[in-house]
Amino acid sequence: MPKAQNIFRDDVKRLRPKLTVLEKNIASPVTPGSRFFPPFEITQELENKAASRIGQYPSEESRSAVLPLLHEVQHKFGFISLESIDWVAKRLNIEPIKVVEVVTFYPGFRQKAPGRLHVRVCRTLSCAMGGSHNLMDKLCAITGIDRAEADGHKDPISVSPCGNFSVEYAECLASCGTAPVCLVNDDFHEGITADKAADLLESYENA
């Protein structure tokens, strides 16, 4: 049996120009936050980081590096774009669908650009008892975010019109003793009751 050839997006486009199902479901819609993130680009730095991550796994098991590579992409470019999925697939020599299935499963991977400051508020029991819903309401009120369209499964991220802020509910951030807690980009903050929301955002003004 001939080995299945990797089909990349360019080929797909050439073969069936009107195939947009993938794009509809996966492609990252542009948000007001997009302007804070550079467009996806394969740089030498990214290649070097990828090589060192792939080196962590046995040479015949490079598929293991899917998550680390996606983390590198998301850290730099804000979210996982279609182009980056193709790049990861090519880099690991696997079919793009194997990357897509990972991106669409894990809540940790974003499919659209967040704001410059992405706030993840813990929603789970101890934090909810500590007032995380009030915190979320307050954050939305301050930043002018409308969460009417938000959907915990399909579209968890809401971005403010200015693109500076975005919010999302996260499941248990594992600091229940200091509820309510949230993550701002990669920084962890504990004991953030609704009245501290404004101070929290202000502390990032010059960041």
């Binding site: 998550l67 499963f105 594992a174």
Partner: protein
């Protein structure tokens, strides 16, 4: 820029017995290897490298250490499951996915004492014959991943990792692998799938017991962060001495994480079974908030069954059986199992009389509906149904029959799935209905429904999360 002041010099409570958390919150402690070496760090690794691997396993078996991740399976026994005729490489994985709601012990080990974990992993890898070990750390700990990678580099530099460690001929590499915010990755076979770069669908056991067919179909040992740290102390004290800590069959210390409606929430490292709920919640946590009374406690992470504070239990069998009030229950694996719940991961969530149980139930079912991996139909569909029914209970549009329907759905998930997530999602619902059926049914009556403004709040929350 983070506002967490991890090293705050908070004094441990007098009833605590600090082993793993000895350096947590300690004045003048930092995460550097130099500080760790000052206090006799990596001595136990050197000692173990001079022993036979079998002797290390025997020592851990003698200690009676039970896994601290949730199931409480004896660690030494798990290590012994690697087939003796094995010729494939062996892997060790540290499960740092800590995602059980209510649990926050591993956070402090990973952030404040990374070398303790690395030493424990190195000893354990030597014992089971692993030359590559992975730390699977949850995505929500970005700082810890950086701290760990720095600590690993330091340990490399000092010759505690890498080729020919301390001249013993033993090689070991440890790598950090970040997850991506999925609760199911805490399940060991799900974690292995995730480490292989796939969706974390748990594997069916048998035949896929990790000790025989784990990562890349090679023998793999998956241990919790806390369990691996205990290995260092077992070697330091000797298995014979360690087993004297705690109570029979529940040896050692464990970290209890208390959150929710108490005056002082936090973590307490105690000898297993030496502390009762009364001592924990009144003496150590300072009792309920002013003007409130304790109502219910979830004793071991949100998937353990809820216990009412005014219950009493029959513990033990035959002549040894005795009636114990809730407050006199010691927090150990066997007693809590006998009380119909479990010690799980040590996450104690406390609720006082201000909490509506339908609201609590609703929050829990939202969590499990969000985190079900979707592999098995009963769990995928059932967790969503439970969420929808509990939405109705919480916003006051349910009928009394809904409580029965909810119970039926829960029992249709329990025991019918590949991994234990099915039970984890069904148990809290079953227990809540068992213990608070009257309150839940009363919530469905016209006069007890939420007042209109509360209901608007509820609906806003339900549509958003």
């Amino acid at each position: 820029m983070s506002d967490v002041n991890y090293i705050s010099g908070k004094e441990p409570h007098e009833k605590e017995y600090r082993l793993i958390f000895k350096n947590v919150d300690r004045e003048g402690w930092d995460t550097s290897i130099d500080r760790y070496l000052q206090e006799g760090g990596y001595e136990m690794l050197k000692k173990s490298l001079g022993m036979e691997p079998k002797a290390v396993i025997a020592e851990v078996k003698t200690s009676g250490l039970r896994g601290r991740g949730g199931a409480g399976f004896p660690t030494g026994v798990k290590w012994g499951f690697i087939p003796p005729t094995n010729t494939k490489p062996v892997y060790l994985i540290c499960n740092g996915d800590e995602s059980e709601p209510g649990t926050f012990k591993d956070r402090y080990i990973l952030h404040q004492d990374p070398h303790q974990l690395i030493e424990g992993m190195a000893i354990s890898s030597f014992a089971v014959g692993a030359h590559i070990a992975y730390i699977y750390i949850r995505e929500e700990f970005p700082e810890a991943a950086i701290i760990l990678e720095k600590a690993i580099a330091e340990a490399h530099e000092k010759g505690f990792l890498g080729q020919n460690i301390q001249g013993s001929g033993f090689d070991l590499e440890i790598y950090v692998h970040r997850g991506a915010a999925a609760y199911i990755c805490g399940e060991e076979t799900g974690l292995i799938e995730s480490l292989e770069g796939k969706r974390p669908y748990p594997r069916i056991k048998p035949p896929f017991f990790p000790a025989a067919m784990g990562l890349y179909m090679c023998p793999t040992i998956v241990n919790n962060v806390e369990s691996l740290c205990h290995v260092v102390h077992i070697l330091k004290m000797g298995g014979e001495e360690y087993v004297k800590l705690g109570t029979p069959r529940n040896s050692g210390t464990r970290i209890l994480c208390v959150s929710g409606d108490v005056k002082n929430s936090g973590y307490f490292e105690v000898e297993v079974g030496k502390v009762t709920f009364r001592e924990l919640l009144y003496d150590m946590c300072g009792g309920p908030k002013d003007g409130r009374e304790f109502k219910a406690v979830i004793p071991g992470g949100s998937s353990s069954k809820i216990l009412r504070c005014n219950e009493s239990f029959k513990i033990g069998r035959g002549d040894d059986a005795k009636d114990l009030e809730f407050w006199d229950l010691p927090l150990d694996f066997d007693t809590l199992a006998a009380a119909g719940s479990m010690a799980g991961s040590g996450g104690v969530i406390v609720m006082d009389d201000s909490r509506k149980m339908s609201w609590v139930l609703n929050n829990i079912t939202h969590f499990y509906a969000h985190e079900s991996c979707g592999q098995c139909t009963p769990c995928r569909e059932g967790s969503t149904w439970m969420r929808k029914i509990s939405d109705r209970l919480a916003n006051g549009t349910a009928t009394p029959d809904d409580v029965d329907t909810l119970e039926e759905v829960a029992y249709q998930i329990d025991g019918k799935t590949i991994c234990a997530f099915g039970e984890a999602s069904a148990w809290p619902v079953e227990a809540m209905i068992d213990k608070y059926r009257d309150e839940l049914i009363a919530d469905t009556s016209e006069e007890n429904r939420f007042r209109s403004e509360e209901r608007v709040e509820q609906e806003k929350f339900l549509s958003k999360s």
